[in-house]
């Protein structure tokens, strides 16, 4: 275990650690463009310069290993000067595209320039013009003028996705990133190249020009795209969710996530959601608040005997919710007719070797665990039989959040509509449900970004996640829905009274805490 001194701090690192890793361990800031912890070392950007005591020249930190007693610093004048000139070379041909560039606001080069640069350019020559708006494939657009040739994307396709679509072509300042002849960047992980691009050269077609990044807030959660349970960050603002990016978790997904998972924000947004509960009786559809509809459904449920009541669950909800709704059915309604709606059993075990799993439900393991805990052994055949001979009259369904991965949705709706009373808890809108006849309750539910909970992934790893924001305020979690269906009252926890009230504040005074910007506007009238 060699010990080294970084900017005056002593750090002990593992054998074979590079200086850049040691600096991250010690919490020192260091610029890095070509180095990425998940990729091999290239050493081409020359911006992670450090000064090592006893060494006359500055060195790159990414490809220099720490040795015993090394004294490193990256704050000296010598390093600052080296970084400044390195930056000058990077910016020779870099266009002033920041107003157009999608990466503006989270661009490393911008940050670096503000910290080390701020000089007058000394290049008299015109910039080398390269290709703008190159269509690399179905998901990614390249702007080779902005590219600083760090080769991260090339190494990603070589080492991680192993598809080798990208390469660096031409020599000198005419070098460009591009795809090989006749190949397009079209793999299931292509959008990771956009994440790792340190400048705005590679941009995602999906996110391109939709929002400036400084308008977005982010929060960590667990992807519900498949049973792998990748750790992700979702980016959102009051207009909705806009993109998803991976978060490092060594046990689950490393630094990466798949392109399919990046679409999960779409079924969460308001335009695809069921905003109000719809209740269908003899006189057609009526709109109701979510909670009121669940209360209304209780009127039917309380007159139903245990044997004629069934519950159908999809594996897209959290463990806590499954536990709440199953125990309500077992204990309150005395029925063990709880069925697991499996969307594509055959592909459940398939795996592409990197991240993507065939089971497109985030919580299959969690549901099976809850069913086992309550000793439920019912199979789908029982349900079909029960619906056929009329012994099952009332069905409560917790439908999938992500309808796209349920190809059998229409058929199942048709099958379940044989029931006399159908209570369907669903997050998204669906035409098949709206065209149902008979007694139907459509109750909006919350999606995974709107609630706290736990997902258990394919390997049995329990991952807790927190609520991000509220999109449909009337939506219920299954826990709340279970309480209301059982005829109990929902108590909404109110915020505890503030222990300290400022002297000059009325008790009912509205405080505008959320709005930090423009504070002076609200303080108008007081000096």
């Amino acid at each position: 275990m060699p010990k080294c001194t970084i900017n005056g701090k002593e750090v002990e690192v593992k054998e074979g650690t590079s200086i850049i890793e040691a600096m991250q361990q010690s919490g020192d800031r260091i610029a890095h463009y070509c180095w990425h912890p998940g990729l091999s070392v290239a050493g081409v950007c020359r911006l992670c310069m450090v000064e090592i005591e006893g060494n006359p020249r500055v060195q790159i930190a990414c490809n220099t290993m720490v040795t015993e007693g090394m004294k490193i610093n990256n704050t000296s004048e010598k390093v600052r000067d080296a970084v400044k000139w390195g930056l000058d070379f990077h910016l020779i041909n870099h266009p002033l595209d920041c107003p157009i560039c999608d990466q503006a606001g989270e661009c490393g080069l911008q940050d670096q320039y503000m910290e080390y640069g701020k000089y007058d350019p000394e290049m008299a020559e015109a910039k080398v013009k390269k290709h703008k708006v190159v269509d690399l494939g179905p998901t990614v657009v390249l702007d080779s003028e902005r590219c600083i040739l760090c080769s991260r994307c090339v190494r990603f396709t070589e080492e991680v996705s192993k598809t080798n679509e990208l390469g660096i072509f031409n020599r000198g300042d005419r070098s460009e990133i591009g795809t090989h002849e006749g190949v397009e960047l079209n793999n299931k992980y292509s959008l990771n190249t956009v994440d790792i691009c340190p400048v705005g050269a590679l941009t995602s077609k999906d996110f391109r020009f939709r929002q400036r990044v400084w308008y977005l807030k982010d929060a960590e959660t667990v992807c519900n795209g498949c049973s792998n349970g990748c750790n992700v960050k979702v980016y959102f603002n009051k207009e909705g969710f806009f993109r998803v990016k991976p978060v490092y978790n060594e046990k689950v997904n490393g630094y990466w996530m798949c392109d399919e998972g990046r679409d999960i924000y779409k079924f969460v947004n308001k335009e695809t959601r069921l905003l109000k509960a719809q209740v269908r009786g003899a006189s057609g559809w009526t709109e109701m608040a979510g909670g009121a509809a669940a209360k209304n459904a209780h009127e039917v449920l309380k007159n139903t005997s245990g044997d004629s009541l069934a519950l159908v669950l999809t594996a897209q909800y959290t463990v806590e919710e499954f536990d709440a709704i199953v125990s309500t059915f077992v204990n309150e309604f005395k029925t063990k007719k709880v069925f697991f709606w499996i969307n594509n059993k055959e592909t459940f075990d398939s795996f592409d070797g990197l991240l993507l799993r065939g089971d497109k439900n985030p919580n299959t393991k969690g549901l099976l665990k809850v069913l086992e805990k309550h000793g439920i052994t019912a199979t789908w055949a029982d349900l079909t039989q029960g619906l056929g001979n009329g012994s099952i009259k009332t069905v409560v369904v917790a439908g999938p959040e992500n309808q796209a991965v349920f190809p059998d949705f229409q058929e199942r709706v048709k099958e379940l509509s044989k029931a006399q009373n159908l209570i369907w808890l669903q997050a998204g809108k669906n035409d098949a449900l709206m065209s149902l006849t008979g007694n139907v309750w459509l109750i909006p539910t919350k999606t995974f970004v709107e609630k706290d909970g736990t997902f258990i992934n394919h390997a049995g790893l329990e991952q807790k996640f927190k609520k991000v924001t509220t999109i449909v305020s009337e939506a219920l979690t299954l826990t709340e829905a279970a309480l209301l269906l059982a005829g109990k009252n929902l108590t909404i926890p109110t915020a505890t009274a503030q222990p300290f009230m400022p002297m000059n504040q009325r008790e009912d005074q509205v405080t505008l805490e959320a709005r930090k910007k423009n504070e002076f506007v609200f303080r108008r009238g007081s000096l």
Binding site: C98, P99, A126, K132, F209, R212, W214, V521
Partner: protein, 174 residues
């Protein structure tokens, strides 16, 4: 705010002040009656005052030589706006040299405080505050100015051009 009170003896003699004020009013009345050409008021709206070109009045979106919008929808004006009255929707342009442009640019003029921060934030000289200053409208008028109004309203006679054009910029290697 503090209120000053003058309780001195002198302050009780208010009548000379009142009469002095009346005197000034009377002087102006007589001057205006017998010398109407030097009268300092205007018959608005028939006569209008023109401010200097530096006056920060109604917004103008500038255009390029071909008449298309100069704005790249970078949203810096919207970010910098203290009244949060600017709303922009960006989209991809067919021309790769333009790349990004606004398909909708709206200013809620009732919120606008004419501070000029949008002008200052704009990196491409696409928004300016022009010398026009009249923003009247009857109840129910559209106080949300869209691209059409901001760039191509009749007074602008086809739009105001920016100094630097994209083509020139690209040629000079910027």
């Amino acid at each position: 705010m503090s209120v000053m009170q003058n309780n001195s003896e002198k302050a009780k003699w208010y009548l000379p002040g009142v009469l002095g004020g009346l005197g000034i009013t009377m002087k102006h009345l007589l001057v205006n009656l017998f010398n109407r050409k030097k009268m300092m008021t205007l018959n608005y709206p028939e006569e209008k005052y023109e401010y200097s070109p530096r006056f920060k009045g109604n917004h103008v979106l500038t255009v390029k030589k071909d008449g298309s919008l100069r704005c790249t929808a970078c949203m810096l004006c919207a970010t910098n706006c203290p009244a949060e009255c600017i709303k922009i929707v960006a989209a991809e342009h067919n021309d790769p040299h333009v790349e990004k442009f606004p398909i909708s640019y709206e200013i809620d003029i009732l919120r606008c405080v004419f501070c000029g921060y949008c002008e200052e934030a704009c990196p491409v000289d696409a928004i300016r505050l022009g010398p026009e200053w009249q923003t009247p409208g009857v109840n129910g008028a559209n106080f949300i100015y869209d691209i059409n109004h901001l760039a191509y309203r009749p007074n602008l006679k086809g739009g105001i051009q920016t100094h630097v054009d994209d083509e020139e910029r690209l040629k000079s290697g910027i």
